[in-house]
Point group: C2
Chain length 127, copies 2
DNA sequence: GTAGCCAGTATCTAAAAGATACCATTGAGC
DNA sequence: GCTCAATGGTATCTTTTAGATACTGGCTAC
């Protein structure tokens, strides 16, 4: 049990803090979820995720690869083929990520309602 | 059940996508977790989270308030007292956030090992 | 030949985060 | 009565990150 006792996201400089902030990166959840169904090639990922630029997708993938969450396999063919797939470590995040995804999809109406309310009362306050 | 069928984080322009990306904001998980134990004042939050600048903390809190995840209460006293606390909606995220937090704390060694391995094989490739 | 696919990289600009200083109010200490 | 600190921030400036866009080279299908 090397866990709560050793690492704490509220301790500055603790690696777990940086790791959590990376999981909460703008594109990380989408990339992990996009790979849930199995290996994907770069351009397929790009298309599936949509609106992500190649530069940012590349750097997101590199970071996740470096952290051991996914594997990059290059097949020498014409043209070269590169596949990305989740590692065991990456797969262990699928559950939590799916939960976050479902929460986001289920609570859209609540959030939108809250925003309208907030903006409405703020407009009133513009006196 | 207004959920999977209506909203999808992989659809561009879908509000759920933006909401998920916001949950995966750099400071959002820490703020929500810091409020798990009950209301906190601005400066207490700032101290608990650490290394967050007041500007960024303010904007994070404002966004979460606007989205209905937390409540901001101003008490007119000297000096003015401002309390932040989770709303019901915000509390419904505590479970998932705690899961992500535990994952981050538990997998520090695996991630660090993966990084060393990656950097080592990359140094070798610098030929 | 030329148009396009593949997996990116290079360059430039815009947006976000971070560092730092500062504000008004007040009460406490000297 | 004057300095000091605490409150919850805002203003300004710099650095970092993300985004838009164009381009590469090797090939194949037209």
């Amino acid at each position: 049990m090397e866990s709560d006792r050793d690492f704490n996201v509220f301790v500055q400089g603790c690696p777990s803090r940086e790791i959590m902030q990376r999981l909460g990166d703008k594109w990380t959840p989408l990339v992990l979820l996009a790979l849930a169904g199995g290996p994907q090639r770069f351009s397929a990922l790009r298309q599936r995720i949509g609106s992500v630029t190649p530069k940012v997708l590349t750097s997101t993938l590199r970071t996740l690869e470096r952290d051991g969450l996914l594997l990059r396999t290059v097949t020498a063919q014409v043209p070269v083929r590169v596949d990305y797939e989740l590692s065991d470590l990456g797969r262990s995040l699928l559950g939590p990520m799916e939960t976050i995804r479902l929460w986001s999809q289920e609570h859209v109406p609540s959030v939108l309602r809250a925003r309208e309310e907030f903006d409405r009362t703020r407009d009133d306050a513009t006196l």
